[in-house]
Symmetry: C2
Subunit: 472 residues, 2 copies
C-alpha cells in the first residue's frame, strides 16, 4: 500500500481544530499518562527483570540460528514467557527460511611463513572442497577496489578485502564497512577468485571473527566466504608486508539445509479505548550460531518482555493495543519482518508506531521518530519525559530498527530509542556475544525508556502515522 | 653450591673500608655512569626498537612451543638478531624437553541443555579416547574442596574446579589461583574422576581458554585436563543452577611427542674492566601454541634485544659483561632456566645479578632487588635513577623473574623491574596473546628501565651477591 489516512481521524480532532490545544503550555499528552510514564521509569530502574529474561533465553535455549531446532525451542520459550506474563492473543506465525549450517572452519597462512588464522564462514557461505582450497592471496583495501580489479585478474586466487570498521557511538561505522560482507563474494567471483576472505566487520581487537549474512548473485559462481578476526587480518597484513607471495589454505565446510520452518512470536495487551490501533515493540528472537546471542538480540528480547511485564502491572491497560513482536530470522535477511509486514498488511494502517530494540543492552542515549507532522509535538513532549534518563534527541528521522523497516516501507510511523553502541560491534556476530557482556542496570535503563515510550505512544491523543515513504 | 664469596673482593674495597665512601652525600654510583644511565633512558624513550623485535619474532616465527620446529626457528631468529646487533660469544646451548602437541579440542554441555563450550587442553594433558568422554560433572569451588571430596566420589565423573582469579596490578591473583592447573588432574584422578575441567586462570571475560602446564603424579592415573574460558565457566554454572544433573562431552586429542631438542640462546657485550663478572638480562623465547606469544614473552625478548642495541650504541662497554639470555622451554617448567643454571654452575659465583622481563609489555612500575646488604645503597641509588620513569620501590625482595629462579637458588643476586600486570592475565596463555596487545611506547619505557638498570648494575662499584638463599 502507498498511504493510509484513517488514523488522522482518531484522537487528533483537537489539534486539527486549533484553539486552546495549540496554546504554548497546553499539554500535548494527558497529565495522567505522563505521571504513569514516570512511574514506569521508576519501576524499570528499580529492577525491570530484563536481565533475567536474557539469562533464561541464553541459558535455556542458547544460540538460535534461523530455521534451526534451537530457533523452534526459542519460539516455545517465547510463548511460555508471554503466557507467564498474562498477555493475550499469543501467536506463533510461521514462515519459511533458507536453512544453513556451519561446519569445520580452518584457515592458515602456508607461505611464506606458517600461521594459524581464526576464521568463521559468513552466513550462507558455500563450502570449500573437503580438502580445502590453497591459493595465493590478493589484498584490497575496499570492496570498490576489488570491484575495480581487472577482469580475470583473480583467477585461481583468494581475494582478501581489508576494510576497517570505525568505532562510533551510534554504530555508524557498520554501514560504511558492511557492504563487502554481502557483495564481496559476487565481486570476487566476477574477477575469477576461488574464495573471499574479509576483515571482520567489528571494532574489537580479539581473535573472534564476526560472521553475518552474505549473498550470491544469479549466474555468478558462488565462492566460499569467511571473515578473519581483526588481529588475524592484522597478522596477514604483516606477512604480506614481508614482500613475498602469500598463500592461504581455507577449509569452510558449511552447508545449505534447504527450506526450513521458522516463526515470529507475538502477544498483546489489548487497548482500553482504541484496541484496533497497535503500538509495536519488537526485538528479534533468532541469533547467530557462534555466541549465545545475548547482546544480539537477547537484550532486545529482554527489553520487550520486561516492557510487557511493567505495562501489565499498571492499574489500567494502555489506550491503544500494545503488540510485542519477537521476530524470527532477522539475521538472515529480515525474513520474519517481511513475513510480518505481509501477514499483517491489512492491519498496517492501524499501526500507531513501530520500534525495535536491536542494538545491544543499553543504555538508551538518543530518541527520535519518523511521524507525520501533526504528531511531532507529541514526540517532542515524549523526548522531555525521556530526558531525565540521560536521553537526548537523535539526529534525523529514525528507522525504528531493522525489523520495523518492512512496516515503515508501507507508511507506518517509527521511533528510535538509540542504544549506546560504542562497544556493540566488539561482540556483534561473534562467539563472544555472551551474557557476561550484559549489564543489568544499563538494561533496566533501556527498559525504562522503551516502556515509557510505548506507554506514551499508546496514550497519545494524536496518531503518529501514516508517514510519507519518501521521508525514509 | 651454597655460597660464594669471591665477588666480595671485587670493587667493594672502598665500601668495606668505611670512611669517605660512607659519607651521606658521597655517590654510591660513579657520576659518569649515572649520566650514561640517563642518556640510555632518553634513547629508549625516543624509540627503542623493541616493538620491531616483537613484531619480527611473532610474524617470522609465530607461536613457538618448547621442542617444536618453530622453537628451533626461534633459535635461528635469535642468533641472527644477536649477530646483527654485533654481540659476541653468541651460543645456542642445547637441552632436551618432553614434547607435546595439541590436537582436536571440543567440549559441550549435553544435558540438561545443549551448549558448545570453548575449551583448550592444559599443557601436557593426556588425550581422551578419540570419541571423547561424556560424563556427569561435579563442581568444586577450589582445589582444596576437590582434595577434600570423599574417596571414589568422582568415579566416572568429570571434575570441574571453578576458582576465580583476581585482577591485581602485580599479578598476585595468579599465584592464588594457579595451583589447580598443576595439581588438579592428580587430585581429581585420586577421587576417581575421568577428566578435569578448570575455569581459566585469567582475568578476562572473553571466550579464550587459558592454557598452561599441568603435571601428573607417579602412580596416579593421568586424566585429560582442559580449561574453559571464563564466559564458558559462567555458563556452566548457570546450567548447573538449573538444578538438574549436568553432563559434558569432552574431546582433547593432544599427544606426547617424546624427548625433543630445545635450547637457550645467549650473547654478550664483554665487560671493559671485569669481563668475568656477568650481569644477566633474560626473557624466554618459547611461548604457548595458541597465540603468537607477543606479551608472553615476545615483549620480554624485545626488551632484551633493545637493551642490547642501546648498550652497544654507547661510547664504551659496560664495566662488567652483560649477558643476554633468551631461555627456551620456560612455559613447560623452566627447563631452559634449569639447564642454564646447570651448564653455567661454575660461573654463577661471577654473576653480578640476574633479571628477567617476563610479565608483558610494560610499563615498568616497581623496582626491587635481592642483594647482599652491602649492595643495598646501590639499589637505593638505582631506584632514584629509575624514579623519573614513574617507577616506585617494589614490596619485599625480588625473585628476578621465573628463569632467574634457578640462579637465585644458588645465591645469585636478583633484581625485579615490576611490569604493570593489570591486563596481563587477560591475554596470558590464550589465542589472544597477539601483537596488537603491545603498545610500543609502553615497551620503550620498559626498555628505558631495564637498560638503565643493567648498565648501572654493570657499573656498580659494589658486588650485588652472593645472597643468602634463605632470603628467598
Amino acid at each position: 500500500m502507498k498511504r493510509f489516512g484513517f488514523l488522522l481521524a482518531t484522537g487528533v480532532a483537537l489539534l486539527a481544530l486549533g484553539g486552546p490545544a495549540f496554546a504554548a503550555d497546553a499539554p500535548v499528552l494527558p497529565p495522567a499518562a505522563v505521571k504513569t510514564a514516570t512511574d514506569i521509569q521508576g519501576k524499570a530502574l528499580a529492577g525491570s527483570g530484563a536481565f533475567g529474561f536474557v539469562e533464561s533465553l541464553t541459558v535455556r535455549v542458547g544460540p538460535r540460528l534461523a530455521g534451526s531446532p534451537a530457533a523452534k525451542l526459542s519460539h516455545q520459550w517465547a510463548e511460555a514467557r508471554f503466557k507467564e506474563l498474562g498477555l493475550t492473543n499469543i501467536k506463533v506465525e510461521p514462515f519459511t527460511v533458507d536453512g544453513w549450517e556451519r561446519g569445520l572452519e580452518m584457515a592458515s597462512i602456508t607461505k611464506p611463513v606458517a600461521h594459524h588464522l581464526h576464521v568463521n564462514a559468513l552466513g550462507h557461505s558455500v563450502t570449500t572442497p573437503p580438502e580445502g582450497i590453497e591459493a595465493p592471496i590478493v589484498r584490497f583495501d575496499t570492496l570498490e577496489d576489488l570491484e575495480a580489479a581487472p577482469e580475470g585478474s583473480l583467477k585461481g586466487k583468494i581475494a582478501f578485502v581489508d576494510k576497517k570498521m570505525s568505532r562510533l557511538q551510534d554504530g555508524g561505522g557498520y554501514g560504511e564497512a558492511v557492504g563487502v560482507r554481502g557483495k564481496g563474494p559476487e565481486a570476487a567471483a566476477r574477477k575469477g577468485a576461488v574464495a573471499l576472505l574479509i576483515r571482520s566487520i567489528g571494532t574489537d581487537s580479539h581473535r573472534f571473527p564476526h560472521t553475518g549474512i552474505t549473498r550470491y548473485a544469479e549466474g555468478v559462481t558462488a565462492i566460499p566466504a569467511g571473515a578473519l578476526s581483526n588481529p588475524d587480518a592484522d597478522q596477514l597484513n604483516r606477512v604480506l608486508a614481508l614482500g613475498q607471495p602469500v598463500s592461504i589454505k581455507l577449509v569452510l565446510s558449511s552447508q545449505a539445509m534447504g527450506t526450513l520452518n521458522d516463526a515470529n512470536v507475538l502477544a498483546e495487551i489489548k487497548g482500553r479505548e482504541l484496541p484496533d490501533e497497535i503500538v509495536v515493540i519488537g526485538a528479534h528472537l533468532d541469533s547467530w550460531d557462534l555466541g549465545t546471542g545475548a547482546l544480539d538480540d537477547g537484550a532486545g528480547v529482554g527489553i520487550v518482555l520486561a516492557t510487557a511485564k511493567i505495562l501489565k502491572s499498571l492499574p489500567q491497560a494502555p489506550r491503544r493495543t500494545v503488540r510485542f513482536v519477537l521476530f524470527g530470522a532477522e539475521e538472515v535477511g529480515l525474513v520474519g519482518a517481511e513475513a510480518y509486514a505481509k501477514q499483517h498488511a491489512a492491519e498496517l494502517p492501524k499501526h500507531q508506531v513501530g520500534t525495535e530494540a536491536d542494538f545491544g543492552a543499553g543504555p538508551v542515549i538518543t530518541f527520535n521518530a519518523n511521524v507525520r507532522p501533526e504528531a511531532k509535538p507529541v514526540i517532542t513532549a515524549i523526548g522531555k519525559i525521556l530526558a531525565p534518563l540521560g536521553i537526548v534527541p537523535g539526529r534525523g528521522p529514525s528507522s525504528g530498527g531493522p525489523d520495523i523497516g518492512p512496516m515503515t516501507a508501507e507508511g507506518v510511523a517509527s521511533a528510535g530509542l538509540g542504544l549506546d553502541g560504542t562497544d556493540y560491534f566488539d561482540y556483534h556476530h561473534t562467539a563472544d556475544d555472551t551474557l557476561d557482556k550484559v549489564d543489568p542496570k544499563k538494561l533496566d535503563q533501556a527498559v525504562a525508556a522503551y516502556a515509557s515510550f510505548v506507554w506514551l505512544a499508546a496514550e497519545s491523543p494524536v496518531a503518529f502515522g501514516p508517514v510519507d515513504k519518501k521521508d525514509h
